[in-house]
């Protein structure tokens, strides 16, 4: 394979462009795939073409990078003012059992015990915060071969909610977050009371679903 050239007139670039548009024939496509495999510049070009196509098809993606970053900052400020609601992220779709003839696949898909829930409470915030971080930048730079990430000001990272471990209480009007192990202890004390006579029962088994954390 000859080294790649970057000029727009380059036949390989044209072949790549044709492939993006679905107009490449079989031979052209094969050449593109080989180039993509062997040549980082070809991969970067492919990525650029994809980006250009997306931006052409969607106005949202054609905005300058600063637009996204401004939006992020504004959203984070608004979120900080909201009263905090602890809600775990949906880790997997809740199975709606119809007739509940549990197939083996359901057993295989079952997660670890209830103590996953407290982690999920933190995870709910981790997921939200994480999702805010990873976003597209604007027009990609040529000759880069990695997905673009928003460059955050270091000060923003420091002020962002903690992405690891228990979430610390945030001061301010309207709400604060509780450390998760604390909430678990109240939950344990609450759940130890059971309405029915049996623990080994759909109603009663939740009483036993306590976390070992902090023990």
């Amino acid at each position: 394979m000859t080294p790649s050239a970057d000029e727009p007139g380059d036949p390989r670039a044209q072949a790549l462009s044709a492939l993006c548009d679905g107009e490449a024939d079989r031979a052209e496509a094969d050449r593109c795939f080989e180039a993509w495999r062997d040549d980082p510049a070809a991969r970067a070009r492919w990525h650029s073409y994809q980006w250009i196509g997306d931006a052409m098809r969607s106005e949202d993606l054609a905005s300058p990078s600063q637009h996204d970053q401004d939006f992020l900052m504004a959203l984070r400020a608004r979120l900080a003012e909201e009263p905090v609601v602890l809600a775990p992220a949906r880790l997997e779709p809740m199975a709606m059992p119809a007739g509940l003839s549990m197939p083996q696949s359901a057993a295989a898909g079952a997660r670890r015990g209830r103590w996953a829930t407290p982690a999920a409470v933190a995870a709910g915030f981790v997921v939200v915060a994480g999702a805010l971080v990873v976003m597209r930048q604007g027009a990609p730079e040529p000759n880069t071969d990695a997905p673009q990430l928003v460059r955050l000001d270091p000060a923003d990272v420091r002020n962002a909610p903690s992405l690891s471990g228990p979430v610390l209480a945030a001061s301010g009007p309207g709400g604060g977050m509780l450390r998760n192990p604390e909430l678990d202890r109240y939950l344990d004390a609450h759940r130890q009371f059971s309405q029915g006579p049996a623990l080994a029962s759909p109603g009663g088994v939740r009483q036993v679903a306590v976390t070992p954390e902090g023990r």
């Binding site: 996953a116 709400g175 509780l178 029962s201």
Partner: protein, 338 residues
């Protein structure tokens, strides 16, 4: 043959329990509250008694928004004693063993055991006789036909909340024995907030008590903790409760350490529990601690809502499988005695 005799004994105990309540129904009808037809209460009584008296083994699945859990369970009633064993399937090993009032929780990996005396209804003798009636006061009984659960035919009933202060529940009870096979907690739009159900169950098995008794003897090397729970009254702690949300009565009040290890530095809370017969709400009261407590917090996990707020120099935590509004009413009902 032994099995048949044992069956007969168990059935007659259940029948006796139901019959004992006949005078209670007459009493209930003279009270100001409306009373429900005997067959509705009988259905609920049979549901409760089946869980207490039947021998069964099976696999339970529980789910809320965040996770699905599975448990291997066994329940035996033998010679007037109740035995239970629950093992977590998947994830961290965890076992619960119960013999009558005493519950052991075991974490084999950490070699840790917690032993607690479970609060039984026997401590509040006034309640069991009419707890089924209390359920029917707050929930409307709506039969929904028949369905199959874990290979068993079951009657489906919705206990529909009579007001917006509690969640409805949909129950599946095995037709022959009345054993609860599945329970859904339903939100205001009928959406499932949590559900738990047997994925398979064998009812009427021979009791295998050694599953519990043998395991209780294998605790060498275990740290054994007995969380300290001190029964008390709100009144003696200087609190009073006015205008509770309708249908709820206090069923427990105790001081306990929030830290299961019960270290001297662990916070001690006053916990009062209120029940409407189907669900319960805990109210925790403790001195306000700026290091641990901040401004108001609301939260939810599945059907369980939590409200935490500062009241004068105290920190209130209210939680239960009820809407947030109900928790607010509970927090508003609590005040210092004058």
């Amino acid at each position: 043959m032994c099995g048949l005799v044992a069956w007969g004994r168990r059935l007659s105990v259940a029948g006796l329990a139901a019959a004992c309540l006949l005078p209670g129904w007459g009493w209930a009808e003279t009270s100001a509250e409306k009373s429900s037809p005997p067959d509705l209460r009988a259905w609920l009584i049979r549901l409760h008694e089946a869980a207490r008296l039947r021998n069964y083994e099976g696999t339970l699945v529980t789910s809320d928004v965040a996770s699905v859990s599975m448990w291997r369970v066994a329940h035996y009633f033998d010679a007037e004693q109740q035995y239970e064993r629950v093992d977590a399937l998947g994830g961290e090993a965890f076992t619960v063993l119960r013999h009558n009032d005493v519950v052991h929780k075991l974490w084999p990996r950490m070699k840790l055991a917690e032993v607690e005396q479970r609060d039984t209804r026997a401590r509040f003798p006034a309640l069991p006789a009419n707890s089924e009636q209390r359920v029917l006061d707050s929930y409307e009984f709506r039969p929904k036909g028949m369905a199959m659960v874990a290979g068993h035919a079951a009657d489906v009933v919705v206990l529909r909340a009579r007001d917006g202060l509690r969640f409805s529940q949909r129950l599946w009870a095995e037709q022959r024995t009345g054993l609860l096979l599945r329970a859904d907690v339903l939100g205001p739009e009928g959406q499932i907030l949590e559900w738990s159900a047997f994925s398979e169950v064998s009812i009427g098995v021979k009791p295998r008590l050694t599953l519990i008794t043998d395991r209780l003897r294998q605790l060498e090397g275990y740290r054994v903790r007995r969380p300290a729970v001190l029964p008390t009254t709100l009144d003696s702690e200087g609190w009073q409760v006015n205008a509770l949300p309708p249908g709820f009565l206090q069923v427990q009040c105790a001081k306990r350490s929030l830290d299961p290890a019960g270290g001297p530095a662990a916070p001690v809370v006053l916990q009062a529990i209120y029940s409407d017969g189907l669900t319960h709400v805990s109210m925790f009261v403790e001195p306000f601690d700026p290091k641990r407590h901040q401004s108001e917090v609301v939260g939810s996990i599945g059907a369980t809502h939590t409200l935490m707020l500062k009241r004068d120099d105290q920190w209130l935590t209210v939680m239960g499988d009820v809407p947030l509004e109900t928790l607010r009413r509970f927090s508003a009902a609590l005040e210092r005695k004058r």
